[in-house]
């Protein structure tokens, strides 16, 4: 891709699908720039040429504006092409083309609350334990029901680790108000709405440490509702899982990031 207009303005893209979004943005901004320059030239020329002055009279007749017809047809055609050719397929891909089991996706539940993100990993068995809102407590942030056998190996951490080059499927939910899960470098954003569980997927192409942001006003500390986001090698990721897997006693892996 030869991106030039928005390069340097946008954060880098480390996702498999992001180029589609960036391409669309790039085309759109070139289009906007082109139209704006067209207007600006016409406007400047017209204002100089038809300024009121001695001996100059306005003409009553309407100009035949063939070029404006063409310009309008061009605008409509361009919008149609972008809509049908790029925007709709891209959004469909991002929103509905979830990776199948054969791709071995990592599954994480994200439970948002004022003002932190709780990452709920299913543990070794790959099955999430049951959760109930009435079990939520300061040492059980997602309300995990420990009487459920599937819950035994689950753990909850305040930062997200994902492996590189492997699809990730998130289930987003919120305990209290609407938040919005946004990773600028991953080209993903999804509102997190209480009462709903919304799935989302992405795949990282580069390891590193990045930030998750909240994009929806969620209260006083909205501005600092961030979380660290690590894209690990498979080896580092395995180490992360092992480190956090509950050992003999189940629940010591809770975050200390209470309201400061």
């Amino acid at each position: 891709m030869d991106f030039t207009l928005l390069d340097g303005l946008m954060p880098k893209d480390i996702s498999t699908h992001g180029y589609q979004i960036d391409r669309l943005l790039e085309y759109l901004h070139w289009f906007m720039l082109l139209i704006f320059i067209g207007w600006a030239i016409f406007l400047t020329y017209t204002l100089v040429k038809f300024r009121a002055r001695q001996g100059h009279k306005a003409s009553y007749d309407e100009i035949k504006a063939k070029p404006s017809k063409y310009a309008e047809i061009f605008v409509v055609a361009f919008e149609l092409v972008l809509l049908v050719g790029l925007a709709v397929p891209t959004f469909a891909y991002v929103r509905t083309d979830f990776p199948g089991k054969d791709k071995n996706p990592v599954e994480i539940r994200v439970v948002a609350e004022q003002f932190q993100w709780n990452m709920h990993y299913p543990g070794e068995d790959g099955v999430f334990g049951k959760t109930r809102p009435d079990l939520v407590a300061s040492d059980n942030l997602v309300g995990l029901d420990l009487s459920d056998p599937a819950a035994g190996d689950d753990f909850v951490v305040p930062t997200m680790h994902v492996p590189v080059d492997r699809p990730v499927v998130l289930q987003l939910s919120s305990k209290d108000v609407i938040h919005s899960f946004f990773i600028p470098v991953m080209r993903v954003k999804q509102d997190v709405i209480p009462g709903m569980s919304i799935p989302m997927w992405f795949e990282a192409t580069e390891t590193g440490e990045y930030q998750i942001a909240c994009a929806q006003l969620c209260g006083n500390n909205h501005f600092r509702m961030s979380a660290q986001f690590y894209v690990d090698t498979e080896k580092d990721y395995a180490a992360f899982l092992a480190e956090n897997a509950p050992g003999g006693d189940d629940e010591e892996e809770e975050e200390e990031e209470e309201d400061e």
Partner: protein, 576 residues
């Protein structure tokens, strides 16, 4: 208002509880200008926090006290109050009342040759519901917990999380007043335009401004009731323990929330945006109307494509009702819905492009006078253009993924409403001031105001596109919390300084507005040599408007008609 003659009805009936559309129009204009100034002031305080997030604002603390500051630092809750109230005040107490209540009330009846509105008392009621609504909003700054702090969109459940604070409740009550006021006004406008047009004034001889007000009134009439209903529902959620917008299983602040549950937070968003998208066109259409009037008058030639302008405005009004969910692409919307709303959003851009194109083409072949109203109207064109164009990436769901709820959105809609609509409203003030007062505003001060406003408005809003592309979320009390926010913090500082300079740039306008009441050059009925009916009335028009009932003989913009001795042929002058 110095040179009103004093006769029968007495001061109170004449200037306070007046039924005269002109007095009501001026009441609306002055009140909404004050609210605009106030809302702008809130923003200038926000800009301090944004530019210098760790700054020492002891000088502000001395003014606002401990409710908003601790040890010189601004509190996030105070910042959020400023943000929510800035948006609410600018839209519902500033721009709409100025564009519709002010200009609509004052100019529209004159332009159709009517002695007054169809329902003068309803008109008075509309203002006297609007004012208390505004005062209720303002009063919320003084209650415990301060004013509403959940954004001008007031999304639940957040807006319901602190029921002990009165601010949001007052906000909802204020909204109910403001909506009621708009409804009273819109019914009146529609009936007046349909019923009170003077002899000879067919629909296709109406000035473009009247068409714009006509469609605007329909939007207000049809779009506001859902928000009024939603406002009452949220009010009930807060005060009566209902849960229209509150789902089951909420755990707020670590404790299960004491709500019945079963509601849906997205319902509010649908109801809110079902109003708030047409509302965007309520903000734009009157502005387009004003720009049309000023351009025709100062190019000295007819508007290009008058009929296509009218059809576009009608189509725009209709379409504005079926694009609302493009504000909600990120709520987890399915494919079918998102395709529908992306398509309608692209479709609605077509009439907007046609209107803008027609206005630009109207300049071609003119004899363009660069007076103050025209400078503002001309600046509107590219500014509104930027606003419209930057809507494209937000209207397509895929590109919206990256830009949704970032500063890009703020830049986009401000370009539509601030450098766009506000420029047009200033054009309108300079253009009709001589009609309303009998005196011209000062040209030099006007040009000073124009250049400062144009430069600094761009200085405020262009940086926001850079911030947005960088991924900075909106409504952040301190964007330097994020790495990508730190990188573009310099742009935020530039934006803030532009905002403060923009404030200084308004001083010539304020001076001009008041000084010209006494010192402005006196003018006759038609100082701009214009063609529409308001210029047939004396300046200022007396009660009842016209000295004799005018008759309309031709279309609204008959400028430079071949064979005429003058370069304008007013609608109200019969040719020999």
């Amino acid at each position: 208002m110095s040179d009103h003659e004093h006769h029968d009805p007495g001061f109170i009936r004449k200037y306070v509880f007046s039924v005269d559309h002109k007095v009501i129009g001026i009441q609306y204009t002055v009140t909404s200008l004050l609210f605009l100034l106030f809302g702008f002031g809130l923003m200038m305080i926000m800009r301090a926090q944004l530019a210098y997030p760790q700054g020492d604002f002891s000088f502000l603390e001395r003014i606002f006290g401990e409710a908003g500051f601790v040890g010189g630092a601004m509190l996030p809750e105070f910042y959020n109050q400023l943000g929510a109230m800035h948006g609410t005040i600018m839209v519902f107490l500033g721009v709409v009342p100025l564009a519709v209540g002010g200009f609509g009330n004052y100019v529209m009846p004159l332009q159709i040759g009517a002695p007054d509105m169809a329902f003068p008392k309803l008109n008075m009621a509309s203002y006297w519901v609007y004012l208390p609504g505004g005062l209720i909003m303002l009063s919320s700054f003084f209650v415990e917990g301060g004013a509403a702090q959940y954004g001008w969109t007031a999304y639940p459940p957040l807006a319901n999380t602190q029921p002990e604070y009165l601010g949001q409740t007052l906000w909802l009550v204020g909204m109910v007043f403001l909506i009621t006021s708009s409804l009273l006004g819109s019914v009146n406008f529609i009936v007046t335009i349909v019923q009170l047009r003077v002899k000879g004034l067919s629909f296709f001889r109406l000035p473009f401004f009247v068409w714009a007000q006509f469609i605007t009134s329909f939007l207000l009439l049809l779009a506001f009731p859902p928000l009024e209903a939603a406002g009452v529902m949220q009010l009930m959620d807060r005060v009566a323990g209902t849960s229209f917008f509150m789902p089951d299983g909420l755990v707020i602040g670590g404790r299960p929330a004491n709500v019945a549950g079963g509601g849906n937070p997205l319902l509010w968003q649908h109801l809110f945006w079902f109003l708030a998208h047409p509302e965007v066109y309520v903000l734009i259409l009157p502005a387009l109307g004003i720009v049309g009037e000023v351009i025709a008058n100062n190019t000295r030639k007819p508007l290009w494509g008058y009929r296509s302008l009218v059809y576009s405005v009608i189509f725009l009004g209709f379409m504005s009702f079926i694009v609302w969910a493009h504000h909600m692409f990120m709520t987890g919307m399915g494919q079918t819905l998102s395709i529908f709303f992306q398509t309608t959003t692209m479709i609605i851009s077509i009439p907007s492009v046609i209107i803008l194109t027609a206005l630009i083409l109207s300049l071609w072949g003119g004899s363009i006078r660069f007076n103050v109203p025209m400078l503002f109207a001309l600046s509107f064109l590219p500014m509104f253009g930027i606003g419209g164009l930057t809507g494209l990436p937000l209207g397509l769901a895929a590109s919206d993924i990256q830009l949704h709820d970032t500063y890009y959105v703020i830049g986009h809609f401000h370009f539509v409403v601030a450098p766009g609509t506000l420029m047009a409203l200033f054009a309108g003030i300079y253009y009709w001031y001589p009609k309303a007062t009998g005196r011209m505003m000062n040209e030099m001060l006007g040009k000073l105001h124009w250049i400062g406003t144009l430069v600094f408005l761009n200085g405020v809003f262009i940086p926001m596109f850079v911030q947005g592309l960088a991924g900075v979320s909106r409504r952040l009390y301190d964007q330097t919390w994020y790495e990508h926010g730190k990188e573009v913090q310099n742009w935020t500082v530039a934006s803030s300084w532009s905002a403060w300079l923009l404030g200084i740039a308004q001083i010539p306008f304020i001076l001009n507005f008041f000084l010209s009441l006494r010192a402005g050059k006196k003018v006759g009925e038609n100082p701009w040599h214009a063609t529409t009916l308001e210029w047939a009335a004396p300046s200022p028009p007396p009660h009842g408007n016209f000295t004799s009932e005018p008759v309309v003989y031709r279309g609204p913009y008959e400028y430079s008609v071949p064979g005429d001795s003058e370069d304008y042929s007013p609608q109200f002058v019969q040719k020999a």
